[in-house]
Amino acid sequence: MLEIAGLHGFYGESHVLHGVDLSVRAGEVVTIVGRNGAGKTTTLRAVMGILQKRSGSIRVMGTETIKLPPERVARLGVGYVPEERGIFASLNVTENLMLPPTLAPGGMTTEEIYRLFPNLKDRAKSQGSKLTGGEQQMLAIARVLRTGAKFLLLDEPTEGLAPVIVQQIGRVLETIKERNLTVLLVEQNFRFAARVSDRHYVMESGKIIDAIGRSEIAGKMERLEEYLGV
């Protein structure tokens, strides 16, 4: 589904990604963990084509995308939920939800989405700028589930949210898994990540420095805590 090899990324002159290698197989949920500033967000932005100054190889469903603009990457069936959530303030909830065009058949219907996110239905006519952080996150996830994207990039979906909302997002991720979608998840909340992920990559200073399979997590908990500095 995704193969990244030797990925370098830059913001202007500053070199942020230093040869990232990672892969995600179809149907997997894979997490990137790492401290603030490690380059996790930048990696997702490079995959989407939002970070334009990049080199190396990124293959999405077999297509080399290192030179493609974001709209072409998205059209391959990739859904992006950015760290800042990116809810459009001048659009209401329904408009935000309906904004991303359908990329492939098999996306969730509006009814399914409202069943999964009941509070969005109540707020359908609210302006995007009026939503709480939790509602914004729900909406940001909901709108890519509608498009039929088969591969989702989620950047810290639990960041700054109350525990009850984190639990709700956990259930959403389980639903995503049941629907056999593939997910690359960036997450600092390791408990949350451990519950839903098949594998973990540890990122530091723009490189992947460790990879941990599901079965190894228990044994490597201490090492992970050290990586994350918690």
């Binding site: 084509g49 603009p69 709209e71 059209r75 992006y80 001048s90 659009l91 309906m98 904004l99």
Partner: protein, 289 residues
């Protein structure tokens, strides 16, 4: 003061207001999406009128066909300029966009002055819109009524398209966060080109509507541009509804002042602009940034 003169000036004010509204609406769309203050808007207005005149002069094509063809031609010229020139300054300060489009304005106007002089060419009313009706309190020329109605339809149609349709939602979203809209699979660079084409086509359409009322003159764009900039400042840069309402209102105000105090009519809009700038710098409909 006769009522006939009052209503006559009011109608003329409403007509000028319609032109202000269409030009500043186009400016608002362009500014929202491209962050470019399109100083060439006046040239596209003049081009609309001139293309209509040339279509008739050289090809015998009449008003109604020109009503479609001239704005379309203006849109195409605009899109070519956007693709080849204007696109290059998006990442620079606003000032560069203003200077570039101001340069384009001068070049386009200069070419037409060179070819056609500054005396103005007459352009005829379409047959079915000649004549008028006596309403009792005033005489209403049919063509002038048509101009007001057509402008209102196009202004509010554009507003509706932006606020209520899917393409409009793309436009509004891309105004806020173009990168994310691209990441959803929408070709925003194409959308930007189309928006520029649509924004200048509104000016071109206003030019066609104006052609039979005023003469077709290469300098007509410069005359209206200064006023339209004042309208945009009063309404608030980038505000769609603000552009329409302010354009119409200031046109009418200008018409009124022609009746009551003609000496002030050339500056009343600018006086309003100064007051608004002092009280609400973002404009009446603008959001503070």
């Amino acid at each position: 003061m006769s009522a006939t003169a009052l209503f006559g000036q009011l109608l003329l004010g409403l007509i000028n207001g319609s032109f202000y509204a269409m030009l500043s609406l186009g400016l608002a769309i362009i500014f929202g999406l491209l962050a470019i203050v399109n100083a060439a808007q006046g040239a596209f207005y003049m081009l609309g009128a001139f293309i209509a005149w040339m279509l008739f002069q050289y090809l015998g094509i009449g008003y109604w066909a020109s009503f479609v063809l001239a704005p379309l031609a203006v849109a195409i010229i605009g899109m070519i300029l956007e693709r080849t020139l204007i696109r290059r300054v998006y990442n620079l300060d606003h000032l560069y966009g203003l200077l570039l489009t101001l340069g384009l304005f001068q070049i386009i106007q200069g070419m037409f002055v060179h070819w056609y002089g500054t005396s103005g060419q007459p352009y005829d009313y379409p047959d079915i819109l000649t004549g008028g009706h006596n309403l009792g309190f005033m005489f209403l020329p049919t063509y002038r009524a048509w101009v007001v109605v057509a402008s209102l339809i196009f202004c509010f149609g554009t507003w509706y398209a932006i606020e209520k349709t899917r393409l409009g939602a793309y436009l509004r979203a891309a105004t806020e966060n173009p990168t994310l809209v691209r990441a959803f699979g929408i070709n925003v660079p194409m959308l930007v080109t189309l928006a520029f084409g649509g924004g200048v086509a509104l000016a071109g359409l206003a030019g066609v509507l104006a052609a039979p009322i005023y003469q077709v003159n290469p300098l007509m764009g410069g005359n209206i541009l200064t006023t339209v900039f004042a309208v945009v400042v009063v309404g608030g840069f980038g505000s769609i509804l603000g552009a329409i309402v302010t354009g119409l209102a200031l046109g009418v105000l200008e018409g009124f002042s022609k009746v009551f105090y003609p000496e002030a009519s050339n500056m009343v809009i600018f006086a309003v602009m100064i007051v608004v700038l002092m009280i609400k710098p973002a404009g009446l409909f603008g959001r503070e940034r």
